[in-house]
């Protein structure tokens, strides 16, 4: 049955990918991209990678589609056709595709217990997590503790991307140049659409509640800072679409947003420095409490909070930067 679902979803993925390539209207391409991410999320779910599926659905299908639509407001929505170099591009793509296809023949079969990925560190993670960290979701343990350096790197990447976008587009009001009151004064996108406005406002608090659940339930079920940050940002973006930029900027002023962007990453790094001051290694959470297992749990909760704050504020800042330019 899983194989049937897999074949169905992968076929749809290929159809969507061809659709994206063939679409000349960029708006269509962006929407198809969202569908692609949603199908990919379903694929991850079928493969039992629920955490990844949640991230893909929240970031790929949700927020990044909105950000791309925001970017489309700045550029023409038609693709420029250039006839030059298309044969060469086709040849390179065909060659790459065939190479990748050939390489998959060496891959272990799906669910093969002898696959290298199940032989290396995975058995150790599965055996030691209940003893060392004592949380049910091993993915969170790997992400937050065993691979804490990698995750810190990812947060820094998110922060750097946010800084890059703000350098390119600027965030009005962030550095005291303009007040949020000047931004999009009285402009609401949906102010004459009563039904979406009422239903949307009704949903915003529930989306925020769900974000908090995903944030703080990440040790027990699928979820964590990345997913929660994206969902929280989505809730504020929905609020901004309904009530207008100004209300959203009053809610979380740009100056605060910039501080939040940095403080999330700072909290993560600060936990690492704290563990060093307490006599452990960088990001060795065990020293945070007299009981090493509890210390691990505290450390993971703290760094997940840092991840969530950073991701949410970076996504929001990028959205506001696009929205301020789009008018």
């Amino acid at each position: 049955m899983t194989v049937l679902f897999g074949i169905f979803l992968l076929t749809l993925l290929v159809v969507t990918a061809i659709g994206i390539v063939r679409a000349e209207n960029l708006f269509t391409a962006v929407i198809l991209g969202g569908i692609f991410s949603l199908l990919m999320a379903a694929n991850f779910f079928v493969l039992d990678a629920v955490d990844v599926a949640l991230t893909e659905a929240a970031v790929g299908a949700g927020v990044s589609t909105v950000l791309l639509l925001g970017a489309l407001a700045l550029v023409p929505d038609r693709e420029e056709r250039s006839a030059r170099g298309r044969r060469l591009a086709l040849a390179i793509i065909t060659l790459t595709g065939l190479t990748i296809g050939y390489a998959t023949f060496d891959n272990p079969h799906l669910g093969d217990p002898d696959a290298p990925v199940h032989q290396h560190v995975a058995p150790w993670y599965l055996e030691q997590t209940p003893i060392l960290i004592d949380i049910p979701n091993v993915v969170t343990a790997v992400l937050g503790s065993y691979r804490g350096y990698d995750t810190l790197g990812e947060v820094i990447v998110v922060l750097t991307a946010g800084i890059g976008v703000l350098f390119l587009l600027g965030l009005p009001g962030a550095f005291g140049d303009r007040k949020p009151e000047d931004v999009a004064a009285g402009k609401t996108y949906l102010n004459h659409h009563l039904v979406p406005q009422v239903v949307g406002l009704l949903l915003v608090p529930f989306i925020m509640l769900f974000a908090l659940y995903v944030q703080f339930h990440g040790e027990y079920g699928p979820g964590g800072g990345f997913q929660a940050g994206a969902i929280f940002a989505a809730a504020i973006i929905l609020f901004a679409l309904i009530q207008g930029e100004r209300e959203a900027l009053n809610l979380i002023p740009p100056r605060v947003l910039v501080v939040l962007m940095a403080s999330g990453a700072l909290l993560y790094g600060g936990v690492g420095v704290l563990t060093m001051l307490l006599g452990g290694n960088f990001l060795e959470y065990g020293v945070l409490s007299s009981n090493p297992v509890q210390g691990q749990q505290w450390g993971i909760i703290l760094i997940e909070l840092g991840v969530g704050v950073s991701v949410a504020s970076v996504l929001l800042a990028i959205y506001h930067a696009f929205a301020a330019r789009g008018r």
Binding site: H192, H193, V195, P196, V199, G200, L202, L203
Partner: protein, 112 residues
């Protein structure tokens, strides 16, 4: 009691599947965006509603049933709203239904 619940649940599941199928055929066969959205709305509301209710009956009095019920509530709120917003956006961007005489006494913001 169990056979009755099972029968009802299968009726709902099959009925929901049928509505999804009809919606799919409708999206392919109907002439323009508005009529196609009517078909897609059928999948959104009747199709998912019946399938999820059927699944709730299968789940019995468990946490899973509560979660499914929450999904039903959210879909009932968001599905029709999305359909409405899409139709509204299409209308405002100037797309007119095919094969239909538009009334001349439309409100001002809907005239072009």
């Amino acid at each position: 009691m169990a056979p009755l619940l099972d029968g009802l649940s299968w009726f709902l599941l099959v009925g929901g599947g049928l509505f999804v199928l009809i919606g799919g055929i409708g999206i392919l066969r109907l002439p323009d965006l508005y009529t196609r959205m009517h078909a897609a709305g059928l999948t959104d509301t009747m199709g998912t509603l019946m399938i999820l209710l059927g699944l709730i009956l299968q789940a019995g009095l468990t946490l899973a049933a509560l979660k499914l019920a929450a999904i039903v509530v959210f879909l009932m709120l968001t599905g029709p709203t999305a359909t409405y917003a899409l139709a509204n956006a299409a209308m405002l961007s100037g797309l007119r239904p095919k094969n239909v005489e538009m009334p001349s006494d439309l409100p001002e913001d809907m005239q072009f």
